[in-house]
Symmetry: C2
Subunit: 459 residues, 2 copies
């Protein structure tokens, strides 16, 4: 039996060195190669305050902040998108109900714990999530009770099938409220508090303008965490985006839904979808200017472009931190009969273990890319002798053609090896010679470390 | 950058020891743990002869047989099922056309080379596949030319995007014909010749009877190869089944199609589907008895049961030899609203990298199983609070319940660890409390060795 050999090999030094430390979120020791993705300053939206607090949701976490609070100083518009998994965690159910009940109006805060997902926890879990929201509300003075219940978005990430230590969490919400602040250090610490197996906090901010108020500067900030799931956790993709632009709830939801489709729903670490995935967007209008009240204005279109681009940059950070990832791979499928076909092909390539292990091995294996293109489900428009595959280097040098209209090229192996040495790579699949629809997906490779992380024993 | 660390770690001894030797098919050194799956005798169908011959399709292969020939002594019925990949290899196209042209009648042989897949090779590749079939035909004397062209099924497996060394292959077909024989050693050598990255040859045989001829003994033999794809190969699932029962082409095709759906189409190594996958079934009627000419007879039903069971046992051998596999996992989904729903859920669990790495880590991670159940695409009938998950040991001891109607059980970790130590395991997912449809899938785990094998540089 090979089992003993295998068991031993997993404990050997090279893997041990690569293993992430799971004990606590926000470990703080960012790997040197990831430091460039952690901002040292930012431009944050007016009227939002944030904080991070230590609870110790996991008993083993005695040091690191695991409670995050993001609040608007005034009631604001809120929207969210959720996992499509049939097994939805309690905070997903509670937040969805809350936004529906309020019509996305009068939202005050997002409260997040890491360390426990509050998933598959039955009725008790629902009650815990409701309590987290209500206790958060209580600290925003002067809010008149409008009979619509909680005003807080609730998120949880961490171990599945365990109840939250709810009293510990509730007892720390006053501290979370009293330490709210708006400077860069507050935002970065808050972004760190939502992490689980992430190796670096994921935070972005930017300024923008809208056509109807060209002299008004708006700001947007967002934090996210990923990526992949780590046992016995079901780690989760969470995102919290805030803007001081004035946007009504209805257009806010449609802006977010469209932006997520091309960003957070266009990334893949391992193809698994967690029970807790949630991305929320708050807009408090604190910067003034003309409100966006419907989907027909030029402001709406401009806002869509800004939001989609911003959400895409945030989502890419999740891929950068994919469990065990050594590569950041853009998969671009062009000249497709429809956007749906293009996205299905891109998604199938992004999820193929054979493509992902070849990328880990720095191997110009166009055969596996072609093969995944050919078995994408629900796609009828793939025609072998019209399909071309190239590697596109991200340094601006010319693409390396691997397959042209179904015919293999004689590949310059030295050039291929050079391209594959880089961390970043684009795989370009043209489904025809005619102009058509395009979809982009972002993914990472499958490494030994992925197996080590996800095959590890519970501790 | 972590790249150098990673690169070094891949060259360390524990992996090097586990790496399969890719240089040639039929290496012959079966790992000790797999020896029990290689038969030392068999009962083979009357009127079939087989052989294996060395060609050296890969220039580096100077020793191992890589050409297999399976022939019926008389013209027989033939049927086949093929990959659904859009990029179909030349032998797939040529064989499909041949069977259609002949209506599955008058088939004489199956000719297979390993070492080169003849895939994505354009018009020249088609011509090569046609030549392989025609040259094979030529050696079956006395065959009158009926104007319908070749009578041979052609299969190839190995590197993609390269032309076959067709002259070398054609020059060895006379030798393949002259060494045809029907004893166990012939069958085993032939099963070995179709292998690529397989660690053991996969051959089964059995006897059976049919209701209308209770005193006639029929025999069936089959060989197959898998599993997963190895760079720069696109290894392929091939299967060749022969029986001396008398079955007309139409019922033969429907028997095979139904059997494959519950056997070869219910296994997953890595979720990738190759360009060359082909399973062929020949029936020469040499054992006599009443012919099966339609789908309505009791003989047909009995034959279906025998064939499905036989094909399932063959398909399971492919999973036993999954690249890097340390576990053999049966996924049984019961009490479903439909067979399709059950199969989609089973397939989704079987393909989840998180489930597969947890199994490698011997981890009772029901959360990942539940999560995969919840994101199975196209399934509307999953209801969280009616879903139960158990581990079923294969030693006959009682099941270990992990989740009952959506509520987590307090898991006996010692018992779970004991169950997960075994090579074989069944995961049982009950989608409701009501009797319903059932689907079974077989899969293996994802190990470091899988990544090593598939991330390896081309040599």
């Amino acid at each position: 039996m090979a089992l003993n050999t295998r068991k031993t090999s997993r404990l050997l030094t090279p893997f041990a060195q690569q293993i992430r430390r799971y004990a606590a979120p926000g470990e703080g020791t960012v790997p040197p190669s990831k430091k460039k993705y952690v901002p040292t300053s930012g431009t944050y939206p007016v009227g939002f305050v944030v904080s991070s607090t230590h609870v110790g949701v996991k008993a083993s976490n005695t040091r690191f902040d695991d409670l995050a609070l993001v609040a608007s100083e005034t009631p604001c518009s809120g929207a969210a998108v959720f996992t499509k998994n049939k097994f939805q965690a309690a905070p997903v159910t509670v937040t969805r109900d809350m936004l529906k009940r309020r019509g996305g109006k009068g939202i005050r805060a997002v409260v997040v714990n890491s360390g426990c997902a509050n998933a598959v926890t039955g009725r008790g879990g629902i009650e815990d999530a409701v309590k987290m929201g209500e206790e958060t509300d209580r600290w925003f003075d002067g809010e008149k009770d409008d009979g619509l219940g909680s005003r807080s978005v609730v998120m949880s990430t961490g171990v599945i099938g365990q109840r939250l230590p709810i009293q510990k969490i509730l007892s720390k919400i006053p501290a979370a409220h009293s330490t709210l602040g708006s400077d860069h250090d507050h935002w970065l610490a808050t972004a760190r508090a939502i992490c689980t197996t992430d190796t670096f906090p994921k935070l972005l901010s930017r300024s923008f303008t809208l056509p109807s108020s060209p002299n008004t500067t708006y700001r947007m900030a967002g934090m996210t965490k990923g990526a992949g799931m780590i046992h016995p956790n079901m780690a989760t993709l969470l995102g919290i985006l805030c803007t001081d632009a004035p946007i009504s709830p209805d257009p806010l939801q449609s802006l977010l839904t469209a932006a997520i489709d091309k960003s957070f729903n266009s990334i893949s670490i391992d193809g698994d979808t967690s029970t807790n995935d949630t991305v929320a967007l708050l807009a408090n209008g604190a910067a003034g200017g003309k409100p966006i009240v419907d989907t027909s204005s030029p402001d709406y279109a401009a806002m869509q472009e800004t939001l989609t681009s911003f959400a895409t940059d945030l989502a890419k950070l999740v891929v950068r931190d994919g469990e065990g990832a050594t590569k950041f791979v853009t998969i671009r499928v062009t000249n497709a009969a429809s956007y749906t076909d293009a996205k299905r092909v891109a998604s199938t390539i992004a999820r193929s273990p054979l493509v992902k292990t070849a990328l880990y091995g720095k191997d110009a294996n166009w055969g596996r890319i072609l093969c995944a293109t050919g078995y994408a489900e629900g796609v009828d428009s793939v025609i072998p002798d019209q399909t071309s595959v190239s590697f596109v280097p991200t340094d601006g040098s010319p693409e390396l053609k691997l397959l042209i209209r179904g015919e293999p090229e004689a590949v310059d192996e030295a050039r291929a090896a050079q391209i594959l040495e880089a961390e970043d790579l684009e795989i370009l699949v043209r489904l025809s010679e005619k102009k058509g629809e395009e979809a982009v997906y972002w993914t990472c490779d499958f490494s030994h470390e992925y197996v080590t992380i996800n095959g590890d024993y519970r501790t």
